[in-house]
């Protein structure tokens, strides 16, 4: 049906796919900023933003009102505001790097998506084909590698702003990013130890991990989140820190730093930072879900294949690859959004740590814990496989 697509030259195809993903990520990131406000409001027993409205749409009898109440149109309003506000450039900054920093923030945020598969379908032979921009063998590594470049935006922004608070913020940010990257990496290793049994083809790709979580049987269908709760926990905490989310947003910590490295930023440039942060969150949540949350499997012990088979009993088109693909993407996206909701939920629950506490947690608590965890699983896996 879509064979023509595969006849397009690879480069163009890749560009198309990349654009498609960006087209999805960008709005989601924008929507997240809205969602953040909504969730904040809900948790504070408020309805949240619900006034903005677009002509025509609002006139749709019931649905329009619903959208308005949901605050959907505020996304546009906010985005429009950011785009069209006067984009001022303070006089004391290093212009080049000042402008460069938000761009640098965006690049890794969007590039990491390349390595993350976001769905799967079954080909004619019943083989699982992941959907993603680049089915990399070393997906995990690629994500880590590229996202580690994100630190430059913080450093550059802070330095280029040429004023104290941003600089302090950038120092904090980069130290925090580098600190937590360690525990994060170590936390992920048990998963790959488990996946890469001897004799199988070694990989650090995500698809295999998901495949591993969709096997039949009690252990097979178990998501790694249940199998390795500590790993999942460490990864999660590190993810919070990496994305500078509450309770780890000492970087921003408006009470002592005004705003972090983006104190001097405004308008569109500031918006880019904002979007980059949400993109990070999205990709991070995606990775978390792939590794610990079963990827596109709907439920623990219920794999995508099972689900499709079940659906097949009353939907004739259930096995069509297109449907399976969309279904899996939907499941995956649902999980990611749930994760993002979790992010927000935590944000309005926990107070912010002090900077020294952040460092202490990273180096003195999380790192030893992750090492112990790694050792435990390494030994356990060795014993099991014997």
């Amino acid at each position: 049906m879509f064979d023509f697509y595969f006849e397009i030259p690879l480069v163009i195809r890749l560009i198309l796919q990349g654009l498609a993903v960006i087209m999805v990520i960008f709005p989601i990131a924008g929507a997240c900023s809205m969602a953040e406000r909504k969730v904040a409001a809900w948790i504070q027993d408020r309805p949240g933003p619900n006034r903005a409205v677009v002509p025509w749409v609002a006139w749709i009898p019931f649905f329009g009102k619903f959208l308005q109440r949901l605050g959907v149109f505020h996304v546009m309003a906010d985005g429009g505001k950011m785009l069209f506000k006067e984009d001022s450039l303070p006089g004391h900054v290093n212009k080049f790097y000042f402008v460069l920093a938000p761009i640098v923030a965006m690049i890794p945020a969007l590039t990491t998506v390349v390595a993350v598969p976001f769905g799967a379908y079954f080909d004619a032979a019943g083989k699982l084909i992941p959907i993603g921009l680049a089915p990399l063998d070393i997906g995990m590594l690629a994500v880590f590698a590229v996202s580690s470049l994100g630190v430059y935006s913080a450093i550059l922004a802070g330095w280029a702003s040429n004023s104290k608070y941003p600089f302090l913020g950038s120092v904090r940010a980069s130290a925090q990013l580098i600190s937590y990257e360690l525990s994060m990496t170590l936390a992920v290793l048990p998963v790959f130890l488990w996946v890469n049994a001897p004799g199988t083809e070694g990989t650090m790709g995500f698809a295999r991990v998901v495949e591993f979580q969709s096997q039949p049987g009690f252990l097979g269908g178990m998501w790694f989140g249940f199998l390795m709760p500590i790993s999942a926990f460490i990864f999660l905490v590190a993810l919070f820190a990496e994305t500078n989310r509450q309770p780890f947003d000492t970087v921003e910590s408006e009470s002592d730093l005004v705003g972090s490295f983006h104190t001097e930023y405004g308008a569109f440039k500031w918006g880019l930072f904002f979007v980059a942060e949400y993109s990070h969150m999205i990709v991070g949540s995606g990775v978390f879900m792939l590794l610990f949350g079963g990827g596109w499997n709907p439920l623990p012990w219920v794999s995508l294949a099972t689900a499709v088979d079940f659906l097949g009993t009353f939907l004739p088109f259930a096995h069509v690859p297109l449907f399976v693909g969309i279904l899996s993407i939907a499941i995956f996206m649902g999980k990611v959004l749930a994760m993002i909701f979790f992010f927000m939920w935590v944000r309005w629950t926990l107070p912010r740590f002090r900077y020294d506490q952040v460092m202490k947690i990273g180096w003195q608590k999380l790192l030893p814990l992750s090492i112990a965890n790694l050792l435990f699983y390494a030994i356990a896996i060795a014993l099991i496989q014997k």
Binding site: V39, W42, I43, Q44, D45, R46, P47, W345, V346, W348, T349, L350
Partner: protein
């Protein structure tokens, strides 16, 4: 007075991980998340204004629809931020029912950008002509709009349903010839 040192109870392991507490916090916030919203959607919904609320100062008329203010300027005098400006004037001749009133305000302006809602004008008014009523929102696009003129004040204030009928009595007295 003996000092009693109360030892802080040592934290258990679970407490030291803070995880149960965090979970508890999440639970609490989640409860609020799904709890019914307590917001008053204001322009559509209005709060119930309690009795005795002191909002925007207004001028009132007596039940007969006459201005109560006699432009004695006490309120103007007492107003701490000098928000009130009164231009006194004669009672026009055509107002037969007020002919016995010596004066009435020609213009009565309250600058709401200045008013501090202290209520002194109401306190001081001998004629009980000025009241702080339940109107609480004032808004406008220009400064000029924020000055309440006399007609606006009366519009806001309405009629005070008092049973004094002072001017009626005065008129009657005059007519009876025992004025003063």
């Amino acid at each position: 007075m003996a000092v009693i040192t109360v030892e802080r109870k040592p934290l258990t392991f679970l407490e030291r991980t803070y995880l149960p507490q965090i979970a508890g916090g999440l639970k609490t916030t989640f409860k609020h998340l799904i709890a019914p919203k307590k917001t008053l959607e204001y322009p559509e919904q209005r709060p119930a204004i309690p009795v005795g609320y002191r909002g925007v100062p207004t001028l009132v008329k007596d039940p007969n629809g006459r201005e109560k203010c006699v432009s004695c300027q006490l309120c103007e005098f007492v107003c701490p931020p000098k928000a009130i400006r009164i231009t006194p004037g004669e009672i026009p001749a055509d107002q037969a029912d007020r002919a016995h009133v010596e004066k009435g305000p020609q213009a009565f302006d309250i600058d709401m950008l200045r008013c501090i809602y202290c209520g002194l004008c109401q306190e001081v008014c001998p004629e009980e002509a000025i009241f702080l009523q339940n109107q609480f929102s004032m808004s406008g696009y220009t400064r000029a709009e924020m000055v309440n003129h006399k007609d606006r004040l009366y519009e806001l204030g309405g009629t005070l349903p008092d049973a004094h009928h002072k001017w009626d009595k005065k008129k009657a007295a005059e007519e009876h010839g025992n004025a003063h």
